[in-house]
């Protein structure tokens, strides 16, 4: 919510050049703004108004939204656990989720402001859908995870193999070797190199298709700094 709107709500209405009734102007802004807005009665926990973007994100039309209880309908928190009404917390640009009509949690970034309208307190819950941002984060996490896995399964073993091959070479130079021992070790390294090539191909394929299922949730959290 633009702070100027809350701090100086009467500025526009006092503008002598403004010919539109104030209600119409704010209604137009409410309808056209590209941020979802729900106006909630904190006493009843009921939605008293919703703009078109809120309808779009929730997948419910205004008729369905208005008059409905906010918790467990569009908000995943339980009755009595509202961070704003029950815990008196400030919600400003907080990540959260909203439940859409299909019961899916849509990631959002929301701010809740208390306003006084005609002597009654309301909550203005404004939010934007951050699904694309979350997908980008997920994609980044996936790619970093595969990069990390490539280092573990390719770079480190190659370093070990390189050291081992040097040792084998030094044994050969010294003439202190058993041909079968050398053959076995070279064969192991050859097989390992084949496996490393397969690993690289597999990792490339997974990175391209971005199969998030292969990333352990702990690693995902680690990448996100949690």
């Amino acid at each position: 919510m633009n702070p100027r709107m809350t701090e100086q709500p009467l500025g526009l209405m006092n503008d002598p050049t403004c010919k539109l009734p104030s209600g119409d102007i704010f209604r137009k802004i409410f309808e056209k703004i590209q941020t979802a807005i729900l106006i909630i009665d904190p006493e009843s926990h009921r939605i008293v108004d919703a703009n078109p973007i809120a309808e779009h994100i929730t997948g419910r039309n205004r008729i369905e939204l208005v008059g409905s209880m906010c918790h467990q309908f569009v908000c995943p928190v339980k009755h009595g656990e509202c961070p704003v009404i029950d815990y008196h917390e400030e919600v400003r640009n907080q990540e959260g989720t909203i439940i859409n009509k299909n019961g899916e949690n849509v990631p959002i970034l929301k701010t809740v402001a208390k306003v006084d309208i005609k002597g009654k307190e309301y909550l203005i819950e404004s939010f934007i859908d951050v699904t694309d941002r979350k997908m980008a984060e997920e994609r980044q996490a996936t790619l970093i995870a595969y990069l990390s896995e490539s280092i573990l399964r390719v770079k480190k073993p190659l370093e070990l193999m390189s050291d081992d091959l040097r040792q084998i070479a030094s044994l050969a130079v010294a003439g202190d070797y058993d041909a079968e021992d050398i053959r076995m070790q070279l064969q192991i390294h050859a097989n390992n190199l084949d496996q490393i090539v397969k690993n690289l191909e597999e990792l490339k394929e997974k990175a391209v298709t971005e199969k998030p299922v292969d990333i352990p949730p702990e690693f995902r959290d680690f990448l996100r700094g949690k």
Binding site: L152, K156, P157, I188, E218, F222
Partner: protein, 159 residues
């Protein structure tokens, strides 16, 4: 190995790195006879080498065959004489060639749990920074200590 043996502990070497035949020669050079340790060897067959039957050796066909590797470790621990036992896993880094880190993490967790239940010690070798933070975190939760070999060498700390 010398420190393990000096503490009257019987070592079981689980190798996914060097074949049994070569390990025996390496240890023999340091005066450690093959009678002193047990081996679960997951690379001889993988290298096309001959899996010569030996009472203290069990072979697994491939390092990626975690089921057989787990069974071989369990069976070998039962075969070993009573008293202090220790597993030397060589190495976690090379195991990662054959299986994804998430699978390796689960397998190592399984092995560590088995060791704890059997009151057996274990040393899992890995190259420095050769484990991802999750594997490290999971291993840290199960193991007693993570030792940096360079630090151990410089401080003279015993394993």
């Amino acid at each position: 190995m010398k420190k393990i043996l000096a503490s009257n502990c019987t070592p079981l070497i689980v190798t996914v790195n060097k074949p049994n035949k070569i390990l025996v020669k390496i240890y023999a050079r340091d005066g450690i006879g093959s009678e002193a340790f047990y081996i679960v060897d997951a690379v001889t067959q993988y290298s096309g080498g001959e899996c010569t039957p030996a009472p203290k050796v069990k072979y697994v066909n491939n390092p990626s065959n975690l089921t057989d590797l787990g069974i071989a470790i369990t069976e070998m621990l039962k075969l070993m004489p009573h008293g202090k036992k220790c597993i030397l896993f060589d190495s976690v880094s090379m195991l990662l060639i054959h299986i994804p880190s998430a699978t390796a993490s689960k397998f190592l967790h399984f092995v560590v749990n088995k060791l704890k239940l059997s009151d057996v010690s274990g040393i899992f070798l890995s190259v420095e920074k050769g484990l991802d933070p999750v594997v490290m975190a999971q291993m840290s939760a199960s193991v007693d200590n993570i030792l940096d070999f360079e630090q151990v060498s410089s401080t003279g700390c015993n394993l």
